[in-house]
């Protein structure tokens, strides 16, 4: 297979024989793959293929049973999620996981957590350094809200937003952690056609800022339109990789999808 020949030298994320077992069930059967830096990488596959499990492994919510995950050459398998977030990987969730009673603004402000430092004493006693930091957090959060187009909804409780905007808010919250790799887990799930188009534009704009984007997505139009590379997994195995055009005509991929019905 012509493995990522057109890509820049070092992959930002490298998977080496990543395996994930839950009791007797094997969700990932040794996935090896490298995501080139700076691209939009799609991960597709039929339901239950292990795509979300893969994202959980990369973001640290699951610890792979075996295999290695390297982020910018550094092994991250088994690190706690907050450490991985500090290193520069952020994510959204398939089932929206916003802090619903907090405002839209506060959700994005929380995203600044790994880039700020004041603790209990500094905040409780309102040290000047903490006040400066809070002002900066507010400014930066506003920047990300502007970036995704949710500035007008800043003061609403996150739970009051319609689903489409909640998905966008999750992206803003993830971006606020200043990731160099952002994982989007079915960002178009539940969005209508116009919203999906806007999402595509947003993902392109994220990519233009230099952030590598990896997305799990079922909406094939979106995947084909925006991604540079596609990784197909099936029953926890690496089935195929290539550009969207290559994947579209790949016999194994067609069979996997048609075979599923």
């Amino acid at each position: 297979m012509e493995e990522i020949s057109k890509s820049p030298a070092v992959p930002i994320l490298e998977l080496r024989e990543v395996q994930m077992q839950f009791g007797g069930v094997t969700a990932l059967r040794g996935i090896s793959y490298g995501i080139p830096s700076g691209i939009i990488q799609a991960v597709i596959g039929p339901n239950g293929a292990g795509k979300t499990t893969l994202f959980h492994c990369v973001s640290g919510l699951l610890s792979p049973t075996s295999g290695e995950i390297l982020f910018r050459g550094r092994p991250i398998g088994g690190l706690l999620p907050h450490r991985i977030a500090e290193l520069g990987i952020s994510r959204t969730f398939q089932h929206v996981a916003l802090f619903k009673s907090m405002t839209v603004f506060e959700n994005v402000m929380l995203g600044r957590h790994p880039r700020t430092r004041s603790g209990f004493w500094a905040t409780g006693l309102r040290f000047p350094s903490m006040r400066r930091e809070e002002r900066r957090i507010a400014q930066e959060a506003m920047y990300y809200l502007d970036f995704v187009g949710l500035a007008d909804e800043a003061e609403l409780p996150a739970g009051a937003l319609p689903l489409g905007k909640q998905k966008i808010l999750e992206i803003a919250r993830a971006l606020a952690t200043e990731p160099s790799l952002v994982l989007l887990d079915e960002p178009a799930g539940g969005l209508n056609m116009r919203e999906t188009e806007e999402l595509g534009d947003l993902i392109r704009r994220i990519s233009e800022t230099g952030t590598t984007v990896a997305l799990v997505e079922h909406d094939m139009n979106l995947v084909m339109e925006i991604s540079h590379r596609v990784l197909v997994i099936h029953y926890g195995e690496h089935l195929a990789t290539g550009t969207p055009d290559e994947i579209k005509d790949h016999p194994a991929v067609i069979e996997a999808y048609l075979g599923e019905g």
Partner: protein
């Protein structure tokens, strides 16, 4: 703090400031000042519970035990070793912090209500120790002759002096808690409560924060315990059993879990209810508490503060 919180703060401070002037001249209710000293001491405990349970969503059944650790550390160090009460106070707080840390680390690393289980057991152990270590604590009959407090060389004799001292501390603790809530730490605590995995994935070290807020709540409870000791000058282990832990939680629930004002309001109200009006039920007091708990949980899950109308749609703390 929001402008609204500042307004409530000023109004509350004025109310507390003038309260003794109104009640003291009236014979029938002049002892309300004394009740309010207890209410203030309990409020310090309950503000910690509000942070820990209301905001961070972690249940502790051992706040009375930490209250007891503070009380007995102060009592023993001052009555038996002649230490200055103001020096004994931080010693108690330090001990409570250490103990909370040790109990909290294993319990809080796990998701779910492990802290509730661990603290339930821990609270019982502390109560047994207080009752059985007769040589140190005086056992079931407790301790007497604990010295009072001196403020800038003057012995704090009157209830009024105690009242103003305790409530000053309450307001300082209140400010401290408000400032924590309106910061990255407060947002992290609320995020842990709502979506722990998401908080962790966004870079919040959830285990560390849960332990820290638990330690803070223990320190506040211990501090309150120290004031309690020097106010009543005698101790008895029954003030620090599981029932008291539940009472503290009930106070916060009545006022409103997710509001520091709720903690204050609920504590003052329930202290009056407990001290003044529930005696008629004698042994059935526990039943009345149970009934209150049930009614609040069913009909007023967000406590009394939820009855106050709010202007804006958004709820930003």
């Amino acid at each position: 703090m929001t402008p609204r919180d500042w307004r409530i703060f000023v109004i509350t401070a004025l109310f507390i400031g003038f309260f003794p002037w109104v009640v003291q001249p009236v014979k029938a209710i002049s002892h309300y000042v004394d009740v309010m000293v207890f209410a203030g001491i309990f409020t310090i405990v309950c503000l910690g519970i509000s942070l820990l349970m209301g905001y961070a969503g972690q249940i502790s059944m051992a706040q009375a035990a930490f209250f007891g650790i503070g009380a007995y550390t102060s009592g023993i160090l001052t009555a038996r070793f002649g230490l200055n009460p103001w020096a004994a106070m931080p010693a108690g707080a330090l001990l409570a912090a250490l103990v909370a840390w040790v109990v909290g680390i294993p319990a809080l690393r796990l998701k779910g209500h492990y802290l509730a289980m661990a603290t339930l057991g821990f609270g019982v152990i502390v109560h047994i120790v207080l009752s059985e270590e007769v040589a140190w604590t005086g056992g079931p009959s407790g301790m007497v002759d604990i010295p009072g407090l001196q403020v800038v060389g003057l012995k704090l004799k009157s209830e009024l002096g105690w009242y103003y001292l305790v409530w000053t501390v309450v307001f300082l603790v209140l400010l401290f808690c408000f400032h924590i809530l309106h910061s990255r730490v407060g947002r992290a605590l609320r995020a842990i409560h709502e979506e722990e995995s998401a908080a962790e994935a966004m870079g919040v070290p959830t285990a560390r924060y849960k332990v820290q807020v638990f330690v803070l709540s223990a320190v506040l409870a211990s501090l309150a315990g120290s004031f309690y000791t020097h106010y009543v000058t005698c101790l008895n282990p029954s003030s620090f059993n599981l029932m008291w832990s539940i009472r503290f939680i009930l106070m916060v629930m009545v006022g409103g879990m997710q509001s520091l004002w709720g903690a204050l309001l609920g504590t003052v109200l329930m202290t009056f209810v407990g001290n003044e009006w529930l005696h008629v039920f004698a042994d059935f007091e526990v039943l009345v508490y149970g009934a209150i708990l049930l009614l609040v949980a069913l009909f007023l899950p967000k406590g009394l503060v939820s009855l106050v109308p709010r202007r804006a749609a958004a709820r930003s703390i």
